[in-house]
Amino acid sequence: MQKVGELCLEPTKVNVQPGEFKGQKLTFMGLNNQNLHNLVFRPLLAAWQDYTGAELEWIDLAQNEIFPRIQQRL
Protein backbone atom coordinates (compact mmCIF):
# COMPACT_ATOMS: atom_id res chain seq x y z
CA MET A 1 0.00 0.00 0.00
CA GLN A 2 3.00 2.34 0.34
CA LYS A 3 3.59 1.91 -3.37
CA VAL A 4 -0.10 2.48 -4.06
CA GLY A 5 0.01 5.74 -2.14
CA GLU A 6 3.03 6.79 -4.15
CA LEU A 7 1.45 5.82 -7.47
CA CYS A 8 -1.70 7.78 -6.60
CA LEU A 9 0.05 11.00 -5.59
CA GLU A 10 -0.34 12.85 -8.89
CA PRO A 11 -3.71 14.48 -8.05
CA THR A 12 -2.16 15.89 -4.88
CA LYS A 13 0.76 17.32 -6.83
CA VAL A 14 -1.66 19.34 -8.94
CA ASN A 15 -2.74 21.30 -5.87
CA VAL A 16 0.21 21.08 -3.48
CA GLN A 17 3.86 22.08 -3.93
CA PRO A 18 6.67 19.89 -2.56
CA GLY A 19 7.20 20.62 1.11
CA GLU A 20 4.28 23.04 1.21
CA PHE A 21 3.03 21.63 4.52
CA LYS A 22 6.39 21.36 6.25
CA GLY A 23 5.98 21.91 9.98
CA GLN A 24 2.29 21.06 9.96
CA LYS A 25 1.15 18.37 12.36
CA LEU A 26 -2.26 16.78 12.19
CA THR A 27 -4.04 14.18 14.30
CA PHE A 28 -6.02 11.49 12.50
CA MET A 29 -8.58 9.67 14.61
CA GLY A 30 -10.10 6.61 13.03
CA LEU A 31 -10.95 2.95 13.17
CA ASN A 32 -8.77 -0.07 13.56
CA ASN A 33 -10.84 -3.19 13.07
CA GLN A 34 -9.27 -6.43 11.91
CA ASN A 35 -6.00 -4.46 11.56
CA LEU A 36 -7.49 -2.45 8.71
CA HIS A 37 -8.80 1.11 8.25
CA ASN A 38 -6.24 3.41 9.91
CA LEU A 39 -3.61 0.73 9.55
CA VAL A 40 -4.14 0.81 5.79
CA PHE A 41 -4.15 4.60 5.72
CA ARG A 42 -0.67 4.78 7.23
CA PRO A 43 1.17 3.23 4.28
CA LEU A 44 -1.15 5.00 1.83
CA LEU A 45 -0.12 8.34 3.31
CA ALA A 46 3.60 7.66 3.58
CA ALA A 47 4.41 9.15 0.17
CA TRP A 48 2.02 12.04 0.81
CA GLN A 49 3.88 12.90 4.02
CA ASP A 50 7.24 12.69 2.29
CA TYR A 51 6.05 14.95 -0.53
CA THR A 52 4.18 17.53 1.51
CA GLY A 53 6.37 17.61 4.62
CA ALA A 54 3.40 17.23 6.97
CA GLU A 55 3.38 14.87 9.93
CA LEU A 56 0.48 12.77 11.14
CA GLU A 57 -0.28 11.48 14.61
CA TRP A 58 -2.69 8.57 14.76
CA ILE A 59 -5.46 7.70 17.17
CA ASP A 60 -6.65 4.18 16.43
CA LEU A 61 -9.92 3.10 17.95
CA ALA A 62 -11.63 -0.26 18.13
CA GLN A 63 -15.07 -0.72 16.61
CA ASN A 64 -16.82 -0.52 19.96
CA GLU A 65 -14.95 2.66 20.94
CA ILE A 66 -15.04 4.83 17.88
CA PHE A 67 -18.56 6.16 17.91
CA PRO A 68 -18.52 7.27 21.56
CA ARG A 69 -15.12 8.93 21.07
CA ILE A 70 -16.32 10.78 17.98
CA GLN A 71 -19.40 11.96 19.84
CA GLN A 72 -17.16 13.15 22.70
CA ARG A 73 -14.89 14.98 20.29
CA LEU A 74 -17.80 16.75 18.67
Binding site: M1, V4, G5, L7, C8, L9, P11, T12, V14, N15, V16, E20, F21, Q24, L26, F28, G30, L31, N33, Q34, L36, H37, V40, F41, L44, L45, W48, T52, A54, L56, A62, Q63, N64, E65, I66, F67, P68, Q71, R73
Partner: protein, 332 residues
Protein backbone atom coordinates in the same frame (compact mmCIF):
# COMPACT_ATOMS: atom_id res chain seq x y z
CA UNK B 1 -15.05 21.25 1.28
CA UNK B 2 -12.96 23.59 -0.87
CA UNK B 3 -13.63 23.53 -4.56
CA UNK B 4 -10.13 22.26 -5.34
CA UNK B 5 -10.88 19.15 -3.25
CA UNK B 6 -14.15 18.57 -5.07
CA UNK B 7 -12.28 18.65 -8.35
CA UNK B 8 -9.42 16.49 -7.11
CA UNK B 9 -11.64 13.67 -5.88
CA UNK B 10 -14.35 13.84 -8.58
CA UNK B 11 -17.57 13.81 -6.56
CA UNK B 12 -19.54 13.02 -9.70
CA UNK B 13 -18.18 9.47 -9.61
CA UNK B 14 -19.91 8.66 -6.31
CA UNK B 15 -22.73 6.14 -6.53
CA UNK B 16 -26.13 7.78 -6.52
CA UNK B 17 -27.04 7.21 -2.91
CA UNK B 18 -23.82 8.90 -1.73
CA UNK B 19 -24.36 12.02 -3.77
CA UNK B 20 -25.58 15.19 -2.06
CA UNK B 21 -27.41 15.74 0.25
CA UNK B 22 -25.38 12.93 1.88
CA UNK B 23 -22.35 14.50 3.48
CA UNK B 24 -23.79 17.99 3.35
CA UNK B 25 -25.50 20.42 5.68
CA UNK B 26 -27.23 23.58 4.60
CA UNK B 27 -25.85 23.09 1.11
CA UNK B 28 -22.21 22.77 2.15
CA UNK B 29 -20.22 19.56 1.70
CA UNK B 30 -18.36 18.36 4.77
CA UNK B 31 -17.58 14.76 3.99
CA UNK B 32 -15.04 13.05 1.77
CA UNK B 33 -16.60 9.64 1.18
CA UNK B 34 -14.18 6.75 1.30
CA UNK B 35 -16.64 3.91 1.60
CA UNK B 36 -20.06 2.77 0.53
CA UNK B 37 -22.07 0.87 3.04
CA UNK B 38 -24.87 -1.54 2.75
CA UNK B 39 -25.49 -4.91 4.27
CA UNK B 40 -25.62 -7.49 1.56
CA UNK B 41 -26.41 -11.16 1.93
CA UNK B 42 -23.54 -13.61 1.74
CA UNK B 43 -24.42 -17.26 1.33
CA UNK B 44 -22.72 -20.57 0.80
CA UNK B 45 -23.35 -21.43 -2.80
CA UNK B 46 -22.19 -25.01 -2.26
CA UNK B 47 -24.69 -25.61 0.53
CA UNK B 48 -27.65 -24.25 -1.38
CA UNK B 49 -26.70 -26.14 -4.53
CA UNK B 50 -26.33 -29.48 -2.76
CA UNK B 51 -29.09 -31.72 -4.11
CA UNK B 52 -29.02 -34.17 -1.21
CA UNK B 53 -29.76 -31.42 1.28
CA UNK B 54 -32.52 -30.19 -0.98
CA UNK B 55 -34.10 -33.62 -1.15
CA UNK B 56 -33.94 -33.95 2.61
CA UNK B 57 -35.43 -30.48 3.08
CA UNK B 58 -38.29 -31.33 0.76
CA UNK B 59 -38.91 -34.67 2.43
CA UNK B 60 -39.06 -32.89 5.79
CA UNK B 61 -41.76 -30.56 4.48
CA UNK B 62 -39.67 -27.58 3.40
CA UNK B 63 -41.96 -24.88 2.06
CA UNK B 64 -39.75 -23.64 -0.79
CA UNK B 65 -37.53 -25.03 -3.53
CA UNK B 66 -34.00 -25.65 -2.29
CA UNK B 67 -31.83 -22.68 -3.03
CA UNK B 68 -30.72 -19.49 -1.38
CA UNK B 69 -33.57 -18.07 0.69
CA UNK B 70 -35.04 -14.87 -0.66
CA UNK B 71 -37.17 -13.87 2.31
CA UNK B 72 -36.49 -13.71 6.04
CA UNK B 73 -39.35 -16.16 6.50
CA UNK B 74 -37.41 -18.66 4.42
CA UNK B 75 -34.19 -17.85 6.27
CA UNK B 76 -35.90 -18.62 9.57
CA UNK B 77 -37.38 -21.85 8.27
CA UNK B 78 -34.20 -23.24 6.77
CA UNK B 79 -32.00 -22.13 9.68
CA UNK B 80 -34.18 -23.99 12.16
CA UNK B 81 -34.24 -27.01 9.83
CA UNK B 82 -30.44 -27.06 9.61
CA UNK B 83 -30.07 -27.57 13.36
CA UNK B 84 -28.42 -30.90 13.94
CA UNK B 85 -27.59 -31.46 10.28
CA UNK B 86 -24.14 -31.83 8.80
CA UNK B 87 -22.54 -30.70 5.56
CA UNK B 88 -19.17 -31.80 4.32
CA UNK B 89 -18.42 -33.40 7.68
CA UNK B 90 -19.14 -30.28 9.71
CA UNK B 91 -22.10 -29.06 11.72
CA UNK B 92 -24.45 -27.12 9.48
CA UNK B 93 -25.79 -23.77 10.55
CA UNK B 94 -28.01 -21.28 8.80
CA UNK B 95 -28.14 -17.56 9.48
CA UNK B 96 -25.49 -16.02 11.69
CA UNK B 97 -26.92 -13.24 13.85
CA UNK B 98 -25.08 -10.64 15.90
CA UNK B 99 -26.33 -10.50 19.46
CA UNK B 100 -23.74 -8.24 21.10
CA UNK B 101 -24.09 -4.45 21.01
CA UNK B 102 -20.51 -4.02 19.70
CA UNK B 103 -20.29 -0.38 20.66
CA UNK B 104 -23.57 0.32 18.92
CA UNK B 105 -22.68 -1.25 15.59
CA UNK B 106 -24.74 -4.31 16.51
CA UNK B 107 -27.71 -2.10 15.67
CA UNK B 108 -27.03 -2.54 11.95
CA UNK B 109 -27.35 -6.30 12.10
CA UNK B 110 -30.70 -5.98 13.85
CA UNK B 111 -31.76 -3.32 11.37
CA UNK B 112 -30.92 -5.60 8.47
CA UNK B 113 -33.31 -8.17 9.92
CA UNK B 114 -35.97 -5.50 10.19
CA UNK B 115 -35.89 -3.30 7.11
CA UNK B 116 -37.88 -5.69 4.91
CA UNK B 117 -40.60 -5.62 7.58
CA UNK B 118 -40.35 -1.95 8.51
CA UNK B 119 -39.59 -0.02 5.30
CA UNK B 120 -42.78 0.16 3.28
CA UNK B 121 -42.32 1.05 -0.41
CA UNK B 122 -44.94 3.80 -0.08
CA UNK B 123 -43.27 5.43 2.92
CA UNK B 124 -39.98 7.35 2.94
CA UNK B 125 -39.68 6.85 6.70
CA UNK B 126 -38.89 3.68 8.57
CA UNK B 127 -37.06 4.68 11.76
CA UNK B 128 -39.42 7.37 13.00
CA UNK B 129 -42.51 9.27 11.91
CA UNK B 130 -41.20 12.15 9.84
CA UNK B 131 -44.01 14.44 11.00
CA UNK B 132 -43.66 13.88 14.73
CA UNK B 133 -40.18 12.33 15.05
CA UNK B 134 -41.76 9.57 17.09
CA UNK B 135 -39.50 6.50 16.90
CA UNK B 136 -41.00 3.42 15.28
CA UNK B 137 -38.59 1.03 16.95
CA UNK B 138 -41.33 -0.52 19.08
CA UNK B 139 -43.73 -1.11 16.21
CA UNK B 140 -44.74 -4.63 15.10
CA UNK B 141 -42.13 -4.66 12.31
CA UNK B 142 -39.16 -4.22 14.60
CA UNK B 143 -40.77 -6.46 17.20
CA UNK B 144 -41.07 -9.23 14.63
CA UNK B 145 -37.41 -8.88 13.66
CA UNK B 146 -36.37 -9.07 17.30
CA UNK B 147 -38.52 -12.15 17.79
CA UNK B 148 -36.97 -13.77 14.71
CA UNK B 149 -33.49 -13.31 16.14
CA UNK B 150 -34.57 -14.71 19.50
CA UNK B 151 -36.39 -17.66 17.95
CA UNK B 152 -33.46 -18.77 15.80
CA UNK B 153 -30.80 -18.54 18.54
CA UNK B 154 -31.10 -22.24 19.47
CA UNK B 155 -30.20 -23.14 15.87
CA UNK B 156 -27.08 -20.97 15.75
CA UNK B 157 -23.56 -21.99 16.74
CA UNK B 158 -22.76 -22.46 20.42
CA UNK B 159 -22.26 -19.23 22.37
CA UNK B 160 -23.65 -17.17 19.48
CA UNK B 161 -25.23 -14.85 22.02
CA UNK B 162 -21.75 -13.54 22.73
CA UNK B 163 -21.00 -12.98 19.07
CA UNK B 164 -20.35 -9.54 17.65
CA UNK B 165 -19.90 -8.52 14.02
CA UNK B 166 -16.32 -9.74 13.86
CA UNK B 167 -17.53 -13.12 15.11
CA UNK B 168 -20.16 -13.65 12.43
CA UNK B 169 -18.24 -12.24 9.48
CA UNK B 170 -14.68 -13.25 10.18
CA UNK B 171 -14.44 -15.90 12.87
CA UNK B 172 -17.45 -17.83 11.61
CA UNK B 173 -18.55 -17.26 8.02
CA UNK B 174 -15.17 -16.74 6.35
CA UNK B 175 -13.83 -19.68 8.33
CA UNK B 176 -16.58 -21.98 7.11
CA UNK B 177 -19.21 -21.83 9.84
CA UNK B 178 -22.76 -20.93 8.91
CA UNK B 179 -24.37 -20.76 5.50
CA UNK B 180 -25.84 -17.25 5.54
CA UNK B 181 -24.43 -14.00 6.82
CA UNK B 182 -25.57 -10.41 6.44
CA UNK B 183 -22.61 -8.04 6.67
CA UNK B 184 -20.99 -5.11 5.03
CA UNK B 185 -19.11 -5.87 1.81
CA UNK B 186 -15.97 -6.92 3.71
CA UNK B 187 -17.01 -10.54 3.56
CA UNK B 188 -17.02 -10.48 -0.21
CA UNK B 189 -13.64 -8.83 -0.61
CA UNK B 190 -12.11 -11.02 2.09
CA UNK B 191 -13.42 -14.30 0.73
CA UNK B 192 -10.53 -14.45 -1.73
CA UNK B 193 -7.93 -12.26 -0.09
CA UNK B 194 -8.00 -13.20 3.58
CA UNK B 195 -5.67 -15.96 4.75
CA UNK B 196 -8.37 -17.19 7.13
CA UNK B 197 -10.99 -17.64 4.42
CA UNK B 198 -11.94 -21.15 3.39
CA UNK B 199 -14.94 -20.14 1.34
CA UNK B 200 -13.42 -18.81 -1.88
CA UNK B 201 -15.43 -20.25 -4.78
CA UNK B 202 -18.07 -21.33 -2.26
CA UNK B 203 -19.79 -18.00 -1.70
CA UNK B 204 -22.23 -15.88 -3.64
CA UNK B 205 -24.13 -12.74 -2.84
CA UNK B 206 -27.50 -11.07 -3.07
CA UNK B 207 -29.37 -8.14 -1.63
CA UNK B 208 -30.84 -8.72 1.81
CA UNK B 209 -33.78 -11.11 1.97
CA UNK B 210 -37.21 -9.58 1.68
CA UNK B 211 -40.45 -10.39 3.40
CA UNK B 212 -43.76 -11.90 2.33
CA UNK B 213 -45.44 -8.92 3.97
CA UNK B 214 -44.44 -5.44 5.05
CA UNK B 215 -45.73 -3.31 7.91
CA UNK B 216 -47.71 -0.22 7.02
CA UNK B 217 -47.09 2.36 9.75
CA UNK B 218 -49.93 4.53 8.47
CA UNK B 219 -52.63 1.88 8.72
CA UNK B 220 -51.14 -0.33 11.41
CA UNK B 221 -51.60 -3.34 9.16
CA UNK B 222 -49.32 -5.79 7.42
CA UNK B 223 -49.54 -5.42 3.65
CA UNK B 224 -48.99 -8.12 1.08
CA UNK B 225 -47.74 -6.46 -2.07
CA UNK B 226 -49.19 -7.46 -5.45
CA UNK B 227 -45.62 -7.51 -6.80
CA UNK B 228 -44.58 -10.22 -4.35
CA UNK B 229 -42.15 -10.06 -1.44
CA UNK B 230 -41.05 -6.63 -0.26
CA UNK B 231 -37.32 -5.91 -0.22
CA UNK B 232 -35.47 -3.12 1.52
CA UNK B 233 -31.68 -3.26 1.50
CA UNK B 234 -30.18 -1.63 4.55
CA UNK B 235 -27.80 1.24 3.71
CA UNK B 236 -26.10 0.50 6.98
CA UNK B 237 -24.03 3.40 8.33
CA UNK B 238 -23.73 5.19 4.94
CA UNK B 239 -20.04 4.34 4.88
CA UNK B 240 -16.95 5.85 6.42
CA UNK B 241 -15.85 9.28 5.46
CA UNK B 242 -12.97 11.59 6.22
CA UNK B 243 -13.98 14.78 7.97
CA UNK B 244 -11.93 17.87 8.63
CA UNK B 245 -12.53 19.51 12.01
CA UNK B 246 -13.20 23.22 12.06
CA UNK B 247 -10.34 23.65 14.51
CA UNK B 248 -8.07 23.98 11.49
CA UNK B 249 -10.04 26.82 9.98
CA UNK B 250 -8.09 29.55 11.79
CA UNK B 251 -4.88 28.53 10.00
CA UNK B 252 -5.13 28.47 6.20
CA UNK B 253 -2.06 26.27 5.80
CA UNK B 254 -3.21 23.75 8.37
CA UNK B 255 -6.65 23.80 6.79
CA UNK B 256 -5.21 23.02 3.37
CA UNK B 257 -3.02 20.31 4.89
CA UNK B 258 -6.01 18.60 6.46
CA UNK B 259 -8.09 18.74 3.31
CA UNK B 260 -5.16 17.43 1.29
CA UNK B 261 -5.00 14.34 3.52
CA UNK B 262 -8.69 13.78 3.01
CA UNK B 263 -8.45 14.33 -0.73
CA UNK B 264 -5.55 11.89 -1.07
CA UNK B 265 -7.43 9.13 0.77
CA UNK B 266 -10.64 9.94 -1.08
CA UNK B 267 -9.07 10.01 -4.50
CA UNK B 268 -10.47 8.02 -7.36
CA UNK B 269 -7.43 5.84 -8.06
CA UNK B 270 -6.66 5.01 -4.44
CA UNK B 271 -10.30 4.17 -3.86
CA UNK B 272 -10.26 1.24 -6.28
CA UNK B 273 -7.36 -0.31 -4.39
CA UNK B 274 -9.27 0.13 -1.13
CA UNK B 275 -12.35 -1.48 -2.61
CA UNK B 276 -10.58 -4.48 -4.10
CA UNK B 277 -8.26 -5.36 -1.24
CA UNK B 278 -9.00 -5.90 2.46
CA UNK B 279 -9.18 -2.40 3.82
CA UNK B 280 -12.45 -2.15 5.70
CA UNK B 281 -13.99 -0.16 2.85
CA UNK B 282 -16.45 -1.13 0.16
CA UNK B 283 -17.12 0.03 -3.40
CA UNK B 284 -18.56 3.53 -3.39
CA UNK B 285 -17.89 4.90 -6.84
CA UNK B 286 -19.44 4.03 -10.15
CA UNK B 287 -15.91 3.37 -11.42
CA UNK B 288 -15.57 0.53 -8.88
CA UNK B 289 -18.03 -1.67 -10.69
CA UNK B 290 -15.86 -2.75 -13.60
CA UNK B 291 -15.78 -6.54 -13.29
CA UNK B 292 -12.79 -6.88 -15.61
CA UNK B 293 -10.63 -4.76 -13.30
CA UNK B 294 -11.42 -7.00 -10.33
CA UNK B 295 -10.79 -10.09 -12.46
CA UNK B 296 -7.26 -8.91 -13.24
CA UNK B 297 -6.60 -9.13 -9.49
CA UNK B 298 -7.53 -12.79 -9.44
CA UNK B 299 -11.17 -12.65 -8.44
CA UNK B 300 -13.43 -15.19 -10.13
CA UNK B 301 -15.53 -13.35 -12.69
CA UNK B 302 -18.70 -15.13 -11.61
CA UNK B 303 -18.12 -14.44 -7.94
CA UNK B 304 -17.14 -10.81 -8.33
CA UNK B 305 -20.06 -10.19 -10.69
CA UNK B 306 -22.37 -11.59 -8.04
CA UNK B 307 -20.70 -9.48 -5.36
CA UNK B 308 -20.78 -6.22 -7.29
CA UNK B 309 -24.37 -6.84 -8.36
CA UNK B 310 -25.42 -7.34 -4.75
CA UNK B 311 -23.79 -4.03 -3.84
CA UNK B 312 -25.13 -2.00 -6.76
CA UNK B 313 -28.61 -3.52 -6.52
CA UNK B 314 -28.61 -2.53 -2.87
CA UNK B 315 -27.34 1.00 -3.43
CA UNK B 316 -29.82 1.61 -6.24
CA UNK B 317 -32.83 -0.16 -4.78
CA UNK B 318 -35.96 2.01 -4.94
CA UNK B 319 -36.97 0.91 -1.45
CA UNK B 320 -33.55 1.06 0.19
CA UNK B 321 -33.61 1.90 3.88
CA UNK B 322 -31.36 4.92 4.16
CA UNK B 323 -29.81 5.65 7.50
CA UNK B 324 -29.84 9.36 8.33
CA UNK B 325 -26.79 9.11 10.64
CA UNK B 326 -28.63 11.02 13.31
CA UNK B 327 -27.08 11.41 16.75
CA UNK B 328 -28.41 8.64 18.91
CA UNK B 329 -28.94 6.19 16.06
CA UNK B 330 -27.24 3.47 18.04
CA UNK B 331 -29.88 3.82 20.73
CA UNK B 332 -32.34 2.34 18.29
Amino acid sequence: MPDWVKQQIDLTDYVGYLQAPVGTWNGKTYRVSIDGDCHNFNYRSDVFAYADLGAQFKADGGSFEWGVPTTWQQVQEVSKWMKGKEFDGQDLYGILDVYKPWGGFGWYFFASRATAYAKHPDDHAWLFDSDTMKPRINNPAFARAAQDIIDVLPAQPPDQINGDGNTTGFTEFLAGTGSMCHWWGDVGSNAYTSSTSVIADKVLFSILPGSDDVYNASTGAWDTLPSGPSYSPNMAYLGWGVYVMNTVDTDPVKQKTAWSVAAHLGGKDISLWLACYPSGFQPYRNSHFNVDEWATLGYSTDVISSYLKSESDSYNHPNAAIEPRIPGIFQY
